[in-house]
């Protein structure tokens, strides 16, 4: 762990520590620079670099495994681009793009074991993929036909949480439950991973989650994808210090990983989850990445950030470095990439067809599942409304 003088220039007045100079912004070092502690295993140029602390956690990743990670990223990016197009065509009311965060999500998602639990925010389409949630199942939220149609218990993937930071306390409580049930320290140990963004770190729920997890030694990995922007607000609106260093104040380790390096994200996530399973939780992981698209399809980033910044981050693209590494380091040929391109096209076509075919829920959906136990009062409201609908010609309003 480095000391403050490593990252605060000696002559910087305290109150402006968080505000980066323009040259830092353009160098992709917005807010809190990458610093000396960034864990990286694969450089943006696709070169595998030794990282003694974490290499062992990905020692099993051979060519096939690396290809699988690349495939994951290509497919979730393609699904993301297709959903963005569907929104543009009016088929979805909104989409929340993950573009640029594929490595951060696939690395973490593939580190999770089947018995683990994940609590997403609303951008974790890549983690959903790793938990076996079909991308088609995500569309309903954004088409307005449901609030999340997958089974959280069966998939180990909680529903999306839109209110910023709420899930950090929920994940902590879930992890406390894992511990109370003795699922820490043994062969059947489990852990929880909680996903949130840099903006969320300002929310009370996140800080309270850190406190609770620390006090109860909860087996939870707080996985912060720092994509540099909370809609229009850069990191310096949320923090003076690199986010991973916040963990120290709560009494648990904080690690910053190159969020565009899938191998590093996998290694650090595996390590962090193992820490939790063996009773050394919680852990904070800050995946240092970049939101390459808008906050949502309703957002226009050109109003608040420099185009140059995006261009520089494109050089750190999470997919490209793996592609280069597969070709140069593993001799993977065109066949693989061609087949993957075809598979991507199939996935996109399937998503599009699924979206077009999604039925509009009937009015009874409004009243269903409000309570677990019967509510005669609500049933009466439902019946009155359905009777009213039936009074129209053809029985439809």
């Amino acid at each position: 762990m480095s000391v403050p003088h490593d990252w605060i220039p000696a002559n910087t007045p305290g109150a402006t520590v968080g505000a980066p100079p323009r040259e830092h912004v353009l160098a992709g070092l917005r807010g809190t620079d990458e610093g000396p502690d960034l864990v990286q295993l694969l450089t943006p140029e696709g070169e595998r670099v030794a990282c003694p602390a974490y290499d062992a956690h990905v020692a099993d990743v051979d060519t096939a495994a690396l290809r699988a990670l690349y495939r994951d990223m290509v497919l979730v990016r393609r699904a993301d681009r297709e959903a963005t197009a569907l929104q543009r065509q009016g088929e979805l009311g909104l989409w929340v793009p993950l573009l640029g965060q594929e490595a951060a999500q696939i690395g973490a998602g593939r580190a999770l074991q089947p018995g683990d639990m994940a609590f997403p925010s609303y951008r974790e389409h890549g983690v959903a993929w790793c938990r076996g949630v079909d991308p088609a199942a995500l569309l309903g939220i954004f088409r307005g036909t449901d609030h999340g149609e997958w089974d959280p218990a069966a998939t180990g993937f909680h529903l999306y949480t839109i209110v910023i930071g709420n899930q950090c306390l929920n994940a902590t409580g879930y992890a406390m439950g894992q511990k109370f049930e003795g699922r820490v320290g043994g062969p059947d140990a489990q852990a929880t991973m909680c996903f949130f963004g840099d903006g969320a770190t300002s929310q009370g729920d996140v800080h309270e989650g850190f406190v609770w997890a620390a006090v109860y030694d909860a087996p939870v990995v707080f996985y912060c994808q720092n994509n540099q922007w909370a809609i229009s607000e850069p990191n310096e609106r949320q923090t003076r210090v690199p986010l991973y260093r916040r963990a120290q104040g709560y009494g648990f380790p904080g690690i910053r990983v190159d969020g565009n390096d899938v191998l590093a994200c996998l290694a650090v996530s595996r390590w962090a989850l193992e820490e939790c399973r063996t009773g050394n939780g919680p852990v904070l992981v800050e995946a240092f990445t970049y939101r390459m698209d808008a906050h949502t399809t309703s957002d226009d980033p050109s109003r608040y950030r420099l185009a140059d910044e995006l261009e520089l981050w494109k050089l750190k693209d999470p997919l490209e470095r793996v592609r280069v590494h597969l070709v140069r380091g593993h001799g993977v040929g065109n066949d693989f990439f061609d087949e993957l391109a075809a598979e991507s096209d199939e996935l996109a076509a399937r998503l599009r067809a699924h979206c077009h075919a999604m039925p509009r829920p009937g009015p009874e959906r409004i009243f269903s599942h409000v309570y677990a136990e019967p509510s005669p009062e609500l049933d009466a409201q439902r019946d009155a409304y359905l009777a009213y609908c039936a009074s129209f010609e053809g029985g439809v309003r």
């Binding site: 009311g93 909104l94 036909t145 809609i231």
Partner: protein
């Protein structure tokens, strides 16, 4: 000249900031971006970062810090980005903002405005279409108002900022882009307003439902129904004298709101009208509201939200009673 409601609010904020250097605007994305609905567009550029604060992403922080700024003599105007995000701030609103004047026996004033875009009808995802007004109207110490037109948006916001009590200021987000004139002679903040005189029945409404009720009244003419439309404008305190007067003339009242009906502002209006106008009523007071459910997936919102058909159906039931 007609302006959109969003622009009328923007102009109102600008005027209030020019009038009083202690007025500060604070919220998420209100500065450089100008707010997700552009209501604060250009204000940070003209008034600087110390008067238009892009705050950390924390609603409890926005309102809690506004309380502190108010203690120091500022007049904060907080923006909560969407209705469904206000709940982290409800602790500060309920425990401090609403009670400090009372607890300090009047020594401390809380001239804080909390602006909240509210209501549905825009096809949004969860937590972006809620109507939490009854929660605030049920909290003594808060004043709660809802604008429905560009003119009211402009003047009510300026009046709310000038007021010495905390005001929850509700903006019907689906009406942000509807245009209208801004009047020269605004009514007081806490007055209801008769928008249309009628003799058959009264529609009492506020916020996004005002446009719906005016449309319903226009459509009802074809059926020979002459409907009075009253924009309540102020939900706490309520100004029901114009409603009592109209009910005494027509004998029938339909209260229209997007929020769930149980334990709501609409319920309070119905209760008070029955206390004050019992002998004038020709039919029970009816409510046309959202249902007592969480806000549904947006493809269901046309069923959830009161619309012209449901309002007129209630009028028919009241007339046929």
């Amino acid at each position: 000249m007609t302006v959109t409601m969003a622009k009328a609010l923007n102009d109102g904020l600008r005027a209030a900031m020019e009038d009083d250097p202690k007025v500060v605007v604070m919220g998420e994305d209100v500065g450089r971006l100008g707010g997700v609905f552009r209501v604060t567009d250009g204000l940070q550029k003209d008034f600087g970062e110390q008067r238009v604060l892009d705050t950390p992403l924390s609603e409890s922080g926005i309102v809690g810090a506004a309380v502190g700024l108010a203690l120091r003599g500022f007049r904060p105007v907080c923006e909560i980005q969407f209705d469904g995000f206000v709940f982290p701030a409800v602790d500060q609103i309920s425990s401090q903002l609403a009670k400090l004047h009372y607890r300090s026996q009047g020594r401390l004033r809380m001239p804080v405005v909390v602006r909240i875009p509210f209501g549905g009808g825009i096809g949004a995802v969860e937590h972006h279409s809620e109507s939490p007004e009854s929660l605030f109207a049920h909290t003594p110490g808060l004043k709660v108002v809802a604008c429905a037109s560009p003119s009211d948006a402009h003047w009510m916001l300026r009046q709310a900022i000038a007021a010495d009590d905390p005001v929850i200021f509700l903006e019907p987000k689906r009406r942000y882009w509807e245009k209208g004139e801004v009047d020269d002679d605004p009514p007081p903040l806490h007055n209801a307003r008769v928008l249309r005189r009628g003799s058959t029945a009264v529609l009492a409404c506020y916020g996004p439902m005002v446009r719906t009720c005016l449309d319903a009244a226009a459509a009802a003419e074809e059926d020979g129904h002459d409907l009075e439309v009253i924009d309540l404008r102020t939900l706490s305190p309520l100004d029901l004298d114009p409603v009592f007067d109209a009910v005494r003339r027509t004998g029938r009242l339909v209260v229209v709101a997007e929020a769930p009906s149980s334990v709501s502002v609409a319920a309070e209006v119905a209760a008070r009208v029955q206390e004050q106008c019992f002998h004038s009523l020709e039919s029970p007071v009816l409510r046309v509201t959202g249902f007592d459910t969480p806000y549904p997936p947006s493809r269901c919102e046309d069923d959830y939200l009161p619309d012209l058909d449901r309002v007129l159906d209630a009028v028919d039931r009241a007339v046929a009673w």
